[in-house]
Amino acid sequence: MPDAAWGLRFWLRFSLAGAALLVLVPLLNRGVAPDSPFALPDYLVPLFGKYLCYAILALSLDLIWGYAGILSLGHGAFFALGGYCMGMYLMRQIGTRGVYGNPVLPDFMVFLNWKELPWFWWGFDHFAWAAAMVLLVPGVFAFVFGWLAFRSRVTGVYLSIITQAMTYALWLAFFRNDMGFGGNNGLTDFKDILGWDVHLPSTRIGLYLASALGLGLAYLVCRYITRSKLGRVLMALRDAESRVRFLGYSTTNAKLLVFTVSAVLAGLAGALYVPQVGIINPSEFSTGNSIEIAIWVSVGGRGTLVGAIVGAVLVNLAKTWLTGAFPELWLFVLGGLFVLTTLAFPQGIVGLFRRLPRRRAREAAAPPVAAEEQA
């Protein structure tokens, strides 16, 4: 059946959607006269870029939560790690344009009287190195963490809580000015990326397109994994892990692989995010952020890749609008939304649109499965 999944119709839709993402926004922004009602004002471009990054992040979480049933409450950490790697590159690009005009040291290091660059900053003046780190750092971190956790069969709520502890610890760590990541102020005041001024509208379009491509790539990766045999192994272990072991599959390895892949995607999202919002600081590690990611996914529809994307974009669109329109009330609305989705349509928005009989069946069949897991 995977063959069917990669049929012509899929590629048609995918490229349609992709094209729309890639062409529409630049066109409306640059091509249309600013005063026309269809014109897309400049400030919305990085905003949409940001949404796309969130969408990638949501995808990465959906991959492990929706399909493998592992709820990570620390995915914000991988996102932030990727972001910091990119931020370090951007900091090094500032060069002598910083407040203290030091060609090598970022301002905050000059200020803390650091004499030379700490070793973990080496190489970040090269984009290639930074790009590699963007994927490697979260990946390796996730691999080690996951190896420890899955090998000793930490599951369900326990895993969620220790991932939360992980991001909490990182949050505290990055706050420390002595860590060498700029403390609470984090990394900011970026000048240019690959030689282009990050503030130029054209650069913004470029970053937006990069995010769009990143999203497409992430979507394909996730789709491939979930449609592969491994994908079915994951879904199987979500329902009855021990049974999968008796079939001879190593659930540890399967989980470890997707956990790592998902962390890498999260890192990618972070890296694309930072140059567009212009700052990365420890608050990205805050436990609340990580929980919010899970909320995007469940609003959109858990276990469906499209759902993750839809959820991330819609929730953040709502956030942008509400914080401006109802600054005093928006938390009520947002909180209410979360309660409503989990109660009224547990399958999320996408679940509303596609009424699949098999999902009904799953609902009906859920309790005995859970019970079997207990035994």
Binding site: P2, K229, L230, V233, A236, R245, R358, P368, V369
Partner: protein, 246 residues
């Protein structure tokens, strides 16, 4: 040490005080069909847990083909040695289709990398089709397993054992909750399977045990009480005590 397929010697398992297995010793020869009976709490299921690596024994040795020390391996490794297991409660993957369930069980590499790039070849496809025919779920292949009836789930699970060539099958009450008709079919199926593999069946239903007509081991309080043909054990005085009480 013997050349027996499955060799348990002095296996003891205790859950906070209560001895589920008490110095159990059991030998299953290659190609044999063995039925294990015993009252509740006799340790039948625990014995299977030990063999399949779900439970680690406190003491005693468990060997497969005389060489593989099962007390040192985890479920995955043991399964890959060729030991299959069917649970008491049918456990199929409710959210996957019947076809997918079988595909997962299909013999072949289990490595994570492989399953990431694996593609189902025509041979495998035929294999699955054949099995579907055999367990009579051909026309339900696309349904999610969760939608099957209890009996059908039992069959699907047996099918999953079939399609994955295992040299040793452990069947935990395969006919629990089956109609008489289904029970008969199952018995036939098991006998058929028994031709080319070793099978250990745990069962309450004496009628069913008799219909298998195989060597019977009676477990009681975590140890072997008696062993022999159905008739022998049925006339065994202690067995009568245990079953009918004094």
């Amino acid at each position: 040490m013997s050349d027996a397929l499955l060799y348990l010697n002095g296996v003891t398992v205790s859950f906070d005080g209560f001895k589920a297995l008490n110095d159990l010793s059991l030998i299953v020869e290659d190609g044999e069909l063995r039925t294990i009976i015993g009252p509740n709490g006799a340790g039948k299921t625990t014995m299977m847990d030990v063999v399949t690596g779900k439970t680690r024994p406190d003491s005693g040795e468990v060997f497969f083909r005389g060489t593989a020390d099962l007390t040192r391996l985890d479920e995955t490794a043991i399964a890959n040695l060729g030991i299959g297991r069917k649970f008491q409660r049918p456990t199929v993957f409710e959210n996957l289709g019947v076809f997918d369930n079988l595909e997962l069980a299909l013999a072949g590499s289990r490595s994570t990398w492989h399953s990431l790039f694996a593609r189902l070849d025509s041979a495998g496809r035929d294999r699955i089709a054949a099995t579907l025919e055999r367990i009579g779920l051909a026309e339900r292949a696309r349904l999610p397993a969760g939608a099957l009836s209890h009996g059908q789930k039992q069959w699907l699970e047996i099918g999953m054992l079939l399609i994955h060539d295992r040299s040793l099958l452990l069947l935990d009450e395969p006919v629990a909750g089956m109609t008489d008709r289904e029970t008969e079919e199952t018995a036939a199926l098991i006998l058929d399977l028994a031709r080319d593999r070793t099978i250990v069946v745990v069962e309450h239903d004496m009628a069913f045990v008799r219909s298998l007509g195989a060597k019977v081991t009676v477990l009681h309080e975590g140890a072997v009480l008696a062993e022999g043909s159905v008739e022998q054990v049925q006339n065994h005085p202690r067995v009568i005590d245990v079953y009918l009480g004094r």
